[in-house]
Amino acid sequence: MEYVIEMLGIRKQFGSFVANDNITLQLKKGEIHALLGENGAGKSTLMNVLFGLYQPEAGEIRVNGKKVKISDPNVANDLGIGMVHQHFMLVENFTVTENIILGSEPTKKGIVNIKDAAKKVKALSEKYGLNVDPYAKIEDISVGMQQRVEIIKTLYRGAENIIFDEPTASLTPQEISELIQIMKRLIAEGKSIILITHKLQEIMEVSDRVTVIRKGQGIGTVTTSETTPNQLAELMVGRQVEFKTKKAKANPKEEILKVENLVVTDYRNIEKVKGLNLSIRSGEIVGIAGIDGNGQTELIEAITGLRKVKSGTVSLNNKNITNLKPRDITESGVGHIPQDRHKHGLVLDFPIGHNIALQTYYQSPIATAGVIDYSKISELAQKIMKEYDVRSGHGEVTPARALSGGNQQKAIIGREVDRNPDLLIAALPTRGLDVGAIEFIHQRLIEQRDKGKAVLLISFELDEVMNVSDRIAVIYDGQIIDTVNPNETTEQELGLLMAGQDRKSNNGQVKEGDE
């Protein structure tokens, strides 16, 4: 028996909606098996079936060759199946150890035995090189560390097969490469991994085989080394996907945004933007490349008026907009796709239609003399939802919460672009979205550029910055340390710049190959 887990012909239905239909996934011992599919393709449903949260209507599950019925997550645990969820299941103000033992606390004479548990946690941490402090509080450690706690949690419970649900969604690039190392170490120790993702690059990098599902249907399983990202994308989406976004040469004209000697502090009053200079002209996309935490958030918040500027100026179309109120800045011609769409972009409990009107609800023709004509909001929402292909269950009255991430993001983009702003700020506009939605959003950004607007793109994904931007400004420690042409740079060079290396000091030598 070479398969440790087999899911054969699984079917799961919710009412009349078929979430999984005849899906087969076979996990070999010691492999990293990727499960690939768009948002809403049925990946999570399938894994919830494996984890005992849902019961399948048809098909069977075998563990180590034996047919099993997984009636609840405890059964899954006993069978050696562990899951690292996308949204961590951790108690913020508990320590690492307390979280790990939660639900199966070891006791000594009726008292919880934290000490021995902590030792065990430490041993596991060392074995797999996880570097986790058993006594650290969850709220004090980084997202990447929290994920490792989730990994230890499964190991502590004796998991042999670990499911990773979109593990890189909220990680920084370094954390991602560290996670990949951890996965490889787990495999070396004889564990098997199912990796749920829609990021093709990760699949190519770590997985041995890939099972693709599309719209609930099992498309098949391929060996990673025998496939290409293009082929995988086609399998996943069902059509050809353009990775290299097509665009004409930029034709920049007059200066739209000018940021001079900008200094901004964060909530602790520590300077995060330290004398930054930036200029964007109409008809160009400037990408800001940088590692998270180098002042990107503070820069956007300062431009959009959400955070007070300590010194320096921000001008839009030669008009000083420094420290104006957010609404005044918006009205002077700035559109902003915020980096956290749930926190800033949407009122999740409002219908999506209200959210689409969130920047215009107070203006004519929607509002007259303080009274809102809600039929006008519906009109606007329907128009934008059609134009931007925003799909929802019940049209514009669907609560924003009920839309998928991609559709939420399309609604926000529709809202911002429809106002026809001179400057469009897009902060991590494709975070957590699948290739289809990413392609759509990139095209919209380029469309704005071609209409003669200025676009500021902030992203942690290097290929996005390189693909979409006409110029790349590298931010490091609160300053733009260099500006490069995406056609003339490499990921390696950008990586070095983002880490604070000076290009000019060693550029020549590197090209010569000595140094």
Binding site: L306, R327, H344, L346, F350, L358, Q359, Y361, I372
Partner: protein, 347 residues
């Protein structure tokens, strides 16, 4: 089962269940539930006097419920309705007796004074919340005690007897000879009209105005509201102020309608706290609050008749609580109904 049918069935079944369990309580305690419920019914709808009394009881509940519901809808928990109501009561009673004006000015002035007093009392926690992030629950609870004792002190200092303020002038009164004759001197007053208008006003503010849109948005998500250019702080303060004004009006009902003055209070009136239950019963929607207040007020007033058939007030309180408990836990009934209809489908 269709959604509409469930929506009607759930509250009906809830009330029936509450009454059933209440009947069991009466049986176990050795009282006749049939007699008890007949007494309750007659206490609510028995004659013009009880109908008038029921409506009078419902009136302040509507306004207190609106006050709580308005705050809830804008993301705030106003437990201070009680205190705001007392301040409104005091203000209305004072304006009612201290001035001599034609009714057309006097009555609106007294009502306005009550609304302003309630609004002012709610402004303080609103300001503290907006500027210093002090939690409104703590501040409003404390403001209740301050209101109670400040009002008592004021009453003692301005009244001759030291116990109650002088009666308001006729020109500030909501009572009328017409209503008195119609309802057999039940103390019913025109306040119900004001309360009904306020139901519509709350609906209009929340569902129709630009400001209502902002208040709700800020209540749901301050970050997104700020991002969209709304002034979060002023919206928080305004939400509290409007909520407080509703509460103040509830006080005006007592001052200008039911009592005609304000007496030194040994403890809270309870209307403000019951307002929380009314708001929740009504799902924080203006017309829901109206229904919640009707249920609450009718039971409260009607049950006064139950001791007449020998059922002690304590048992009566338990029965009222049971009915409201079941209505509030309508979710349980909803789930049960869904299961039942599912089973039928399966068959």
């Amino acid at each position: 089962m269709s959604n509409k049918l469930t929506n009607i069935l759930v509250p009906v079944i809830s009330v029936i269940l509450g009454l059933l369990v209440g009947a069991i309580v009466m049986l176990v305690s050795g009282y006749d539930p049939v007699q008890g419920y007949i007494a309750l019914w007659e206490g609510i709808f028995g004659d013009m006097f009880t109908i008038g009394g029921t409506i009078r009881q419902i009136t302040p509940y509507i306004l207190a419920g609106l006050a709580v519901a308005f705050a809830f809808r804008t993301g705030l928990f106003n437990i201070g309705v009680e205190g705001q109501l007392i301040m409104g009561w005091l203000a209305a009673a004072y304006v009612g007796y201290a001035f001599e004006l034609p009714a057309i000015i006097h009555l609106p002035l007294a009502i306005l004074a009550a609304a302003l007093a309630g609004a002012l009392w709610a402004f303080i926690p609103g300001l503290l919340k907006a500027k210093l992030q002090v939690h409104e629950v703590i501040v409003t609870i404390m403001m209740n005690y301050i209101a109670l004792h400040v009002a008592n002190a004021v009453i003692q200092s301005i009244s001759d007897s030291g116990e109650k303020t002088p009666m308001i002038h006729e020109s500030a009164s909501l009572r009328s000879t017409f209503l008195d004759t119609l309802t057999d001197y039940s103390r019913m007053h025109y306040g119900i009209v004001i309360a009904l208008i306020m139901v519509v006003i709350m609906w209009f503010i929340l569902e129709k105005t630009k400001r209502g849109f902002e208040l709700k948005a800020v209540g749901f998500n301050q970050n997104a509201s700020e991002y969209a250019g709304m002034n979060v702080k002023s919206n928080i303060i305004l939400a509290m102020v409007i909520s407080g004004a509703f509460a103040g009006l509830a006080g005006a009902m007592e001052a200008l309608g039911t009592f005609g003055n304000i007496t030194v209070q040994a403890g809270f009136t309870g209307i403000g706290f019951d307002g929380i239950a009314v708001a929740l019963l009504g799902a924080n929607a203006p017309f829901g609050v109206l229904l919640g207040a009707i249920l609450f007020g009718a039971l409260k007033f009607g049950s006064l008749n139950m001791p007449n058939v020998g059922i002690p007030v304590e048992i009566v309180s338990i029965i009222i609580a049971l009915v409201i408990f079941f209505v509030a836990s309508g979710y349980i009934i909803r789930v049960l109904l869904e299961r039942l209809s599912k089973k039928k489908e399966a068959k």
